[in-house]
């Protein structure tokens, strides 16, 4: 589903990713671990198509198409979803309105019929319940005054509603206590399916206790330096990132 070949990326003239190769098939969950500054978030932004992240070499193919040729919103409509480490606040726009605008924009882009208010409301209710997202929260401005846990739950709700093909979760565990982490992880696990791939970016092994990956990659200084099974994460937890040429976390 996703093929990354020899990907080089510079940000502000500085090379951050120095030749990444990665293959992800439908149904797989890949974890990308690494110390701060290793290029984890850069990888997520390049996949989403953020401005200022310049691909100098290499390619990314998504479902057989050249991902780098597509705009940010086109990628989203094609099924790329990024759960943000720090979700943005949109004052005055209720979570409900935002969700509806996003879902219908994607449906429009795919040539599907937009959902009317009634059908949409039913869908949102259905998706909100397991994530403990209350009606009150849906009526508040998106992410404004949300706690850390609420923000991450709102991200997972968006993901659940938009049903992406490829979900990238950037440090979804940051700022969460253990209960919030469990709720979020359950939400993510519920979305695991044979048609969907996930990339879980994290610094700590902790999250991977709850979202168990099929493959673990260690990213260090812009390169994938090791790839293994879920045990690799446990190993890292013990030994730290020192042997991969980075300061211990």
């Amino acid at each position: 589903m996703l093929e990354i070949r020899n990907l080089h990326v510079t940000v502000g003239g500085k090379e951050i990713l120095k030749g990444i190769d990665l293959d992800i098939r439908a149904g797989e969950v890949h974890a990308i671990m690494g110390p701060n500054g290793s290029g984890k978030s850069t990888l997520s932004y390049v996949l989403a198509g953020r401005d200022g992240y310049v691909v100098t070499e290499g390619s990314i193919r998504f479902k057989g198409k050249d991902l780098l040729e597509m705009n940010v919103d086109e990628r989203a409509a094609a099924g790329v979803f990024l759960a943000f480490q720090y979700p943005l606040e949109i004052p005055g726009v209720t979570t409900m309105t935002f969700l509806k605008t996003a879902l219908n924009a994607q449906r429009r882009a795919r040539g599907e019929e937009e959902l009317d208010a009634v059908r949409f409301l039913k869908l949102v209710r259905e998706k909100s319940r397991p994530l403990n997202v209350s009606d009150d929260m849906l009526k508040r401005s998106l992410n404004v005054g949300y706690s850390g846990g609420e923000k991450k739950r709102a991200e997972v709700l968006q993901m659940s509603l938009l049903e992406p093909v490829l979900a990238v979760l950037d440090e979804t565990d940051s700022g969460l206590d253990i209960d919030a982490l469990k709720t979020v992880a359950e939400g993510v696990n519920a979305l695991r399916s044979p048609e969907r791939a996930m990339v879980v970016i994290t610094h700590y092994q902790r999250l991977l206790d709850y979202i168990v990956p099929d493959v673990v990659h260690v990213l260090s200084q812009g390169r994938i330096v090791k790839t293994g099974g879920k045990d690799l994460a446990l190993e890292l937890e013990k030994s730290g990132y020192a042997e991969y040429g980075a300061d211990a976390a």
Partner: protein
């Protein structure tokens, strides 16, 4: 002077291009320029009583001694007031046979605004066929209003049919000597609306509905007078979300509102006049004086405005809170793009006891525009227990525009409690990226963020209109990013 002439010509060019025809209408124009004879000519044309002519002449003489105000943060070439026509007989609007003859760009905007087809035809000046009998609709409205005892008619008709009311109230809120533009208006105003709501009557409909169906003739110097007698209520909507083009470059309207005991007036405006081309050429100069007088106890006046058009906007809808326990409100969205310049705000003059006011102003600047909020909250010596809350928020899009906030506060009574909150923010690249990552296109994302920013004010608009206004917000900012 030359610059103005040039701009006027530019407008002419644009109009010619836009509509693809140029008609030489044999209109009865007053001679070029402004003299006492012009004023007499206008008054005679309208067959006005002697007192009104005298009133106009007094204003004209006063105007000759006045100079244009220069304190606003707007710049434009000097206006030659002698190089303009101050009266022409009602324009013969050219009726088109079908929408096919209308500029497709205009239709595209109507489409985006979601204006119903029949209304699109009326706005574009297409003759409406008999299937939809507009006349009967208007008549129904008129009957309904008459039943309630509401007077709603053109100013010139009111002068003839209800001279006692006009004489009593005209100029009682905005005196003919008020300011340069109001005085000019007093001398040469040609048309406008007159509304009188009798005691205890709740006007049975938004006075907008009628207007939107009745193709509105915007004059250069409009004069509107609304009187809400004791315990009455009226909601009045001026303007239209559809873009309005006008060959008159200078507009100087006056609006006066009077609310007696326990009466309430809600006045909403959507202004979407031609803002000029990309270089700011040819746009409308809008110098408006709007003032409401809460004359009675427990009265209330609420101004809501959405300003997206005009090259220059100079406008401060205000409230004089004379009656005890009266309340004034001002909700404003001012959007400037391209080279537009907006200097707008309000004045809340607290004279009575326990008077309260609320100001919520949302300024959005994009392109190379300049957007200034200028407001005054004044508390007089005898006004006990005054409360005011002011909130001024500015939103910047891009890095070539500017936003300014100039609040004036004067209080002569120590019991007053005045609050002022102000914020300035910028639509961030990260906010846009976030929306777009969810599949929302760039322009839709900007519209979404801006509508969120304006929500408090949009909620004040009459329901059917709020939806259109929301769309308008998006449309006025098209092309502001990227």
């Amino acid at each position: 002077m030359a610059a103005v002439k040039e701009t006027v010509e530019t407008v002419g060019e644009i109009e010619k291009y836009k509509y693809g025809f140029f008609t030489d209408i044999e209109s009865e124009k007053a001679p070029l320029g402004l003299t006492e004879d012009t004023v007499r000519f206008i008054s005679a044309k309208k067959d006005e009583p002697e007192w009104l002519l005298e009133w106009r002449l007094a204003a004209f003489r006063r105007w000759q001694t006045m100079t244009e105000p220069t304190w606003a943060k707007v710049t434009y070439p000097p206006i030659d007031f002698q190089d303009a026509y101050y009266y022409s007989a009602p324009k013969q609007t050219v009726k088109l046979d079908s929408l096919d003859q209308v500029d497709p760009k205009l239709l595209e905007t109507y489409e985006k605004l979601g204006i119903p087809l029949t209304e699109q035809k009326m706005l574009a000046g297409v003759a409406v066929d008999a299937v939809f009998d507009s006349v009967s609709v208007v008549t129904t409205f008129k009957e309904k209003l008459a039943e309630a005892g509401v007077i709603f008619c053109p100013m010139s008709e009111a002068v003839k049919k209800h001279p006692e009311l006009v004489k009593k109230y005209l100029g009682s809120v905005v005196p003919s000597s008020d300011n340069f533009y109001a005085t000019l208006n007093s001398a040469v105003f040609s048309e406008g609306s007159f509304v009188y709501i009798p005691e205890g009557v709740r006007c049975p409909m938004e006075l907008s509905t009628y207007f939107r169906i009745n193709e509105k003739q915007t004059g250069q110097f409009e004069r509107t007078l609304i009187i809400a007698d004791k315990g009455s209520y009226v909601s009045y909507l001026e303007g239209c979300t559809a873009p309005q083009r006008d060959e008159n470059q200078l507009h100087a309207a006056v609006v006066e509102l009077i609310a007696h005991d326990d009466a309430e007036i809600k006045y909403s405006t959507v202004q979407n006049w031609f803002p000029g081309d990309e270089e700011g050429k040819g746009g409308v100069y809008n110098f408006v004086t709007k003032r409401g007088d809460c004359r009675g106890e427990n009265s209330k006046i609420s101004w809501t405005q959405v300003e997206t058009g005009s090259a220059i906007t100079w406008k401060y809808p205000s409230c004089i809170l004379r009656g005890d326990n009266s309340r004034g409100e001002f909700y404003s969205i001012a959007i400037s793009n391209g080279r537009q310049q907006v200097d707008s705000g309000t004045k809340m003059i607290h004279l009575g006891r326990n008077t309260t006011s609320r100001i919520v102003s949302k300024g959005i600047s994009a392109g190379r525009s300049s957007n200034t909020y200028r407001g005054l909250v004044s508390v007089h010596r005898k006004a006990e227990n005054v409360r005011n809350f002011t909130q001024c928020d500015s939103l910047l899009i891009g890095d070539r525009c500017s936003a300014h906030t100039v609040p004036y506060i004067e209080t002569k009574n120590p019991t007053a409690i005045l609050e002022h909150e102000a914020t300035t923010s910028k639509i961030g690249d990260d906010q846009l990226f976030y929306c777009m990552q969810r599949g929302i296109g760039e322009e839709e994302a900007v519209a979404l963020i801006v509508n969120g920013f304006c929500r408090d004010v949009l909620q004040q608009l009459p329901m059917e209109f709020a939806v259109e206004a929301q769309k308008l917000v998006g449309i006025s900012l098209e092309g502001s990013v990227g």
